[in-house]
Symmetry: C3
Subunit: 672 residues, 3 copies
């Protein structure tokens, strides 16, 4: 099994003589996989119907001759300028009616039949030509679907949206019922009257917005499916398309079913001390999307990116440490954007494996070191195997794109970030020492001891029932803002939470009372105050934020209460014991220290013994994969290992081993 | 006389069986008035020319059968989607040229002949059908005119604007003179060259902007008038349209003349400690608009709204306290948006009288309590009567929409909020214990002892003369930024302030010198520093902000001076005694404590004895209406009444009575 | 020689009787030059082809009769509304596709053939009529080219841009090479596929952006050239157009070659304590643009402007002090916008020499005083001459519009303000007591002892070589971010800095590592931390910001190092001795105190002895012009002169003379 190493390779940016240096350096660095052709449409089809593959033939042959495998892109992500000139209707339109122009990238309307047809024709030719090329390891469909343009509001999209609605609702009266158009005089008399949610005088219909989010995801997925079908018709090589971590516009649960291997582009911010914790959450998502199967880190930056306001370089060792984080959390490949740093264009200040300054550089030396280490790890087998092994977890957090789309709509009880809520829970659990999966709330949960469902705002009856059923045999933690609506964004009346969850948890919600900052007649906004919390389960006293509720307890124990304001004395955290588990409810978002105390309590309740610390000092991430324990020190302080075993990277004994900042050990524990 | 109780009733959102529960619960809650049909156009005319009134017949009959009176809307506020599809020119256009879409509400160009004609046809049919319905108590024209779309920049509006200008100016040379088009080469050779003030390279012509504000107000008012005329042709029932407090786009002085009863929608922010003071100002405006006649609180929220960034729930008792504030300040009705909280649509998280969770809720219990109390108050008569009585006041603040529009234009001396200036004065006076009216500056002021004219930026000669004349018999306080221009936005030359005010006040303004924060080449802005002030009339020392002036004194006493910077030693507050009164001038906005000292001084000067405090402790609002004194505690601390009388709500003696936060007493003082 | 005094005169705003008062007051104030006709197109050509010059005849005759010379504008800056109505394609379009409207000013597409033709026709008629008018002193072409609309994205501009690109590149493949279109699939198959950089999904092509900046500058310059050619065909009177200080959109190096005298509009913010330092930099630029020749301060404000958010009035004496700053730094004229403050229009709250309040005002008295002083100075001759004399300098800072445009593009290493970097260096040098010129980096530098090249991001080979050559004979200081790319925005590979500079300075840059604030998944941005610096040359310890680099030293002395983080111990400031000079490199922007220490060190290294202080106390600016030393106190504290000489303004001896805030002395030092 191999841990792939390499990255995006764009030789069309460089003269031919550089290509030879490229493969020579790839071999020096241990590069095993190169992604080719991502942005090559304009080069492959310089004018409509006029194809030029000769250069790509040469690239693939050269890579093959030098032992580098190829992840071949379909090149459809960024259409050439001629498409816009000939078919201006392929250009996407914003909700304010601005038709976007050529000159950057990915300027296409996903619903455009012209775009889809031209893309399909290109894919057909690429597949025909390269399906049997011996360098081929993976097909790479398009690129970062939805990046920059995930929703298009043009008239072509409008017509496609109407068709999608016709297919979904059949009768316009059913659409009227589901969208609640009786309010605000929005009733449609026919599907032809419906538009995408373009700029309007005020809040647009929430279910229209949600359906447009779903439609937009479906249209992008249809683009992917069409290309994948052409490939699979002719080739048995696995197919992927690169995801983008927690990307709101695209529901990766639906997409993960369609790819042969999950792959991800993630660019944590080197300047952000929270980045390792956030990135850990992203890696866990990627592993979870594939049902635990190994995945590929398709893109990360060797050092700085160039699209933030300020772009920190990675510190020495940081790239290596974050690469191992991916491997620890299930990746079987560590790839980069891009091989050779561009000399021109919009990403010339995005770092590359071969930097502008060449190979007499800190960066290149780290590239060589990591390549060499991964190659050595790749040949480990048996209990020392890394590649191909799985990452065990008995804890899961539910993740649901409908809820994400819905809870962040305007005209909501308060402004929340779904992602920040998930991150708070993921971090509290991870820092307790456990590894966390993400799950769909309607998945089979029987493999888990603990499931946390935070802010699962929009829930189907089946999801509500599935969660409620889990509480009978495991520990279920439901966070505020859950099951407030059904999948049509109709409120679940009679007290929030669907009936099965009310029974399972023994509580219902009478009214929302989120903390709020004064908004004097729209003349100012601010940060809402924290809410005091009381309860041993939170470590005595703490503070909550983001959300609060009047929580009514029917059959549960109150473990924490709100401590001030109108909510004073009302329950904040409850627990109801069940025959084989427990059902917790948390009516606010405790601040990090309190949430970590709460996480420890629910882990204990679920019978999960967090592992003993393996180091003293440092800010250490520990993840078990296969037979090994990855230990990574993200903190400035040195960490000292306290675990008896051997470091696979150095062969050294790990007891007493010192890990500086960004230091990594892959511990094969001594068999006891 | 009745204090109406109820709210917007939108049965078309609910299945028929809910309607029966609705009227049952209305009776339990003491609901006496329901507003019906506000957003029903699409339901009443589902396709062009095809009307369906059967459901509305049933609603009105059902309400009537259960003793609930009806405020019937003309349903024209939000056109159905078919209007946009058939007549896209009815959709409004922003100043950047974006044509707004269906899918929210109120998407119509006020100048559109098609919209007006379709609306008129609908109103004709509604009036024809329901004019004689026995449930009918009030006609409710359209809804919240100007909300979301107050100015339309489409070509239809442009043509209407040109007609409006032709009617106003007759000759384009007169327009050129008034608009000052000699500057910046803006001279128009014909009216056809004129546009609405659409997006332009830089600051647009100020008088064009002001005329477009006036035109836009007039167009909305023309829409109202057309509907009201259709109603009055056939019906003698009173007509209203619901105002929105201090709403900049609509000059309510002009509108108040056209309604039979003033009604208001106001949503103070429960999270804002300043909300009660701000709401008091709004209630005083509504009373003043009707010349002191009772008005209706047409909409408020039972608890949270859903259109702020963060939406606080009302604390227990807060809804009741704020309802009584309206009654205290002249309302004869306490109504809500909306009866039953929506399960779907853009306002589903806006609270309703019947909440999502049903009647086993804090909210519903408060709804029942208030309904029962208001019913009991309604039957009081004689000296104990509330409904129908008036609120005495001897103090007035001038309010002028032209000044509001003008002083907040860009390219002004500094950025000010007209509303914040008015609020500062209103609050300082109100907290001194008096009740304040708003007046037009050209109204008959003889009923007042004190008139404050703050920032009356744009003043006609008649207004200047009227204010100046008042200073001969009463106490006039003129604030900075007053009478700077005439009604054409032409500066009054030779020292700001029109000549009559210069004589009356004995001062003139040489130059503006507002406090300013550094703006280094547009690379940053900030909050300007406060200006030190000196003067016993301000309590010794204080600070001013927002504005400052080089004030020249010709014939007045200087009561306070600026204390630092280039203005050091220049007058800040002056007073000139007149035969029967006094004329004060205030060249800055003192901070609240200093302004309250100043307010006390001018009240004293006007011979107004602020009433003795009636409580100890609390943050208490006191308002006299009819023969009663309303006492409302908005503060967290308990208040203890010190007034000898009887509480109309409880019958208890009031001396020593304790009022918790949000507590209310309606004191019938003991006759001495 | 005369120091001109006066300003923009817009008599068309006023009735005829005011004109007589105007010239009377001009004479009282000593006004010698009036700029006439800047915004008169609509008045001169009220409808297409119909001209009216009678009023302007009268104005010029009146001024002439009263001894006021005339700077006559071509009146083309702001087209009349009829142009837009008849030729809507002359209106400019934003990058989002919004066509801007009439109603403000300067609403024309610079590439519009219709606009250019109508403008040319107007200029021909004006020149024909007034070329021989005896009042004429100067021609004033258009006004503030590029203000508000510097880039137009309409289809006419697009076609012109394509023509410009055809002329520049000849073959589209050369464009593809230079723009780097191989990346992101941007390859153009023909020039017809190219657009202006309109709104697009994400970052637009950097070289396309830069070429569009160049094109836009060229189009404006072509407008200027066309008008100037018409004038010069017929008239020998000098021609100018008014610049706007450091104005990013227009490359004044190219423009300065085309004007007979440089003139400038600058409006420092009276509320900003940094304004005098910033304004000094602007004055130095104007002198440098003209190669050291006297220039004209064409516009400044007598007191407040009206286009900031908050508009401070100038304090007493501030206008005079800032006027003398211009004269000190080479101006032979002090002019204002505008003569008489408007009563209407968008600039009515912009101060005028004749204020709204008239002549019994602080402002008018200062206007008279300054006019009288300048008249007295104008007649000085010999060693006491001011007008016509030059300002010596041996220090220069390089300034390059390509670098300005490029380094502030998005998708860069970090966000920087080119202007703030230049300002930091200019201020550090100026406060050391020297006067600084600006130079093109490819100019003859032999007249200078010290040249500082900060952030010269985009450098041609010739510029790199010229700078490197200078280091052989003078002291060259190169700042971070220099010569990172060539003129095509192609990175200089193999370590940043072109090869000649690497040799000259003995260093190269391995990687950028700018300080960065956390950007957690785009959910927040912030201010990056300062970087510790160590080194005697900075005064021991200091802090840097904005930028940092991994600097590799090959042949230089390290004078300061970075003190913390990943850069700890890496060089921050280096110096390499050369046969006749030295080459310094500075890899960050030291904070002001440290930068001033560094400036002192490089001045010393260059053999420049900063002059001894001439005052005790105050915040004093000293500049030598001709045989005099201007001393201006900008600080609140009094300054006491310590220089032996005579004040030209008062005739008083200067030793021990006291200068209050805003005080000015023009010292004629005693001959020793």
């Amino acid at each position: 099994m191999t841990i792939w190493y390499g990255g995006d390779y764009n030789p069309e940016q460089w003269p031919r003589e550089i290509w030879d240096e490229d493969v020579r350096l790839m071999n020096r660095a241990g590069v095993s996989l190169a992604t080719v052709g991502v942005f090559s449409w304009a080069r492959l089809e310089p004018r409509e119907g006029d194809y030029d593959f000769a250069w790509l033939d040469e690239v693939l042959d050269l890579l093959h001759a030098n032992g580098v495998r190829v992840d071949l892109a379909t090149a459809t992500a960024s259409p050439p300028p001629w498409l816009a000139l000939r078919y201006p209707q392929t250009l996407p339109v914003t909700e304010h009616g601005v038709r976007l122009s050529v000159g950057s990238r990915q300027q296409y309307c996903p619903s455009s039949p012209v775009y889809r047809q031209k893309a399909a024709e290109l894919v057909r030719r690429i597949v025909e030509r390269y399906a049997d090329h011996p360098a081929l390891e993976l097909w790479h469909v398009n690129n970062e679907y939805g990046c920059h343009v995930s929703h298009c509001y043009c008239e072509v999209s409008a017509e496609a949206f109407r068709d999608w609605l016709r297919a979904k609702y059949g009768d316009v009266e059913e659409l009227n019922r589901v969208w609640g158009t009786a309010f605000w005089s929005q009733r449609y008399d026919s599907f032809t009257e419906v538009s995408p949610p373009r700029a309007a005088p005020t809040f647009r219909n929430p279910t229209q917005l949600l359906d447009f989010d779903r439609f937009s995801n479906d249209e992008l997925l249809a683009c992917y499916r069409a290309e994948a079908a052409i490939i699979r018709d002719r080739s048995a090589i696995p197919v992927t398309t690169n995801f983008m971590g927690f990307f709101k516009a695209v529901d990766y649960w639906a997409w993960a079913r369609e790819v042969d291997v999950v792959s991800d582009d993630t660019y944590p911010d080197p300047a952000d001390p929270d980045a390792p914790a956030y990135a850990a959450m992203v890696r866990d998502l990627m592993r979870s999307l594939g049902g635990g199967a190994p995945w590929l880190l398709m893109e990360q930056a060797p050092s700085a990116v160039n699209w933030r306001r300020q772009n920190a370089a990675k510190a020495p060792g940081q790239m290596r440490a974050w690469s191992y984080q991916s491997v620890a959390r299930g990746a079987d490949g560590v790839l980069f954007f891009q091989w050779r740093q561009s000399a021109a264009g919009s990403e010339k200040f995005h770092s590359g494996l071969v930097p502008h300054a060449g190979t007499d550089t800190r960066l290149w030396r780290e590239v060589e070191q990591l390549g060499s280490e991964l190659a050595a790890l790749s040949v480990r087998t048996g209990a020392e195997a890394i590649a191909g092994t799985r990452v065990p977890s008995s804890v899961a957090i539910t993740l649901d794109w409908d809820s994400w789309w819905a809870i962040e709509q305007p005209a909501a009880p308060t402004d929340v970030s779904y992602l920040r809520i998930l991150f708070a829970w993921h971090r509290a659990l991870t820092e307790s020492g456990v590894t966390v999966d993400f799950v769909r709330s309607d998945a089979d949960l029987s493999g888990y001891s603990l499931v946390v469902a935070p802010a699962h705002f929009t829930a189907t009856d089946a999801q509500v029932a599935n969660l409620a059923a889990f509480a009978q045999t495991g520990t279920l933690v439901v966070g505020f803002g859950t099951a407030v609506t059904d999948e049509n964004l109709h409120v679940r009346l009679g007290g929030y939470l669907g009936a099965p969850l009310r029974s399972a948890l023994g509580v219902w919600i009478e009214e929302f009372a989120p903390p709020a900052a004064p908004d004097p007649q729209n003349l100012g906004t601010g940060t809402p105050p924290a809410l005091a919390l009381e309860g041993a389960v939170l470590g005595g006293a703490g503070a909550g934020g983001v959300w609060a509720e009047y929580l009514r307890v029917e059959d549960a124990e109150t473990l924490a209460t709100f401590g001030d304001g109108a909510l004073s004395g009302w329950p904040a955290v409850t627990r109801r014991a069940t025959p084989g588990g427990a059902g917790w409810y948390v009516a606010t978002l405790p601040e990090p220290a309190a949430l970590q105390r709460l996480a420890a309590a629910v882990l204990l309740d679920a019978g999960i013994e967090p592992p003993a610390p393996v180091t003293r000092g440092g800010r250490v991430e520990c993840v078990r994969r296969g037979g090994s324990l990855f230990v990574i020190n993200h903190g400035a302080d040195e960490a000292v290992l306290q675990i008896d075993g051997t470091d696979l990277l150095t062969g050294a004994p790990t007891s007493g081993m010192r890990l500086p900042q960004h230091g990594v050990a892959i511990v094969r524990p001594r068999e006891v």
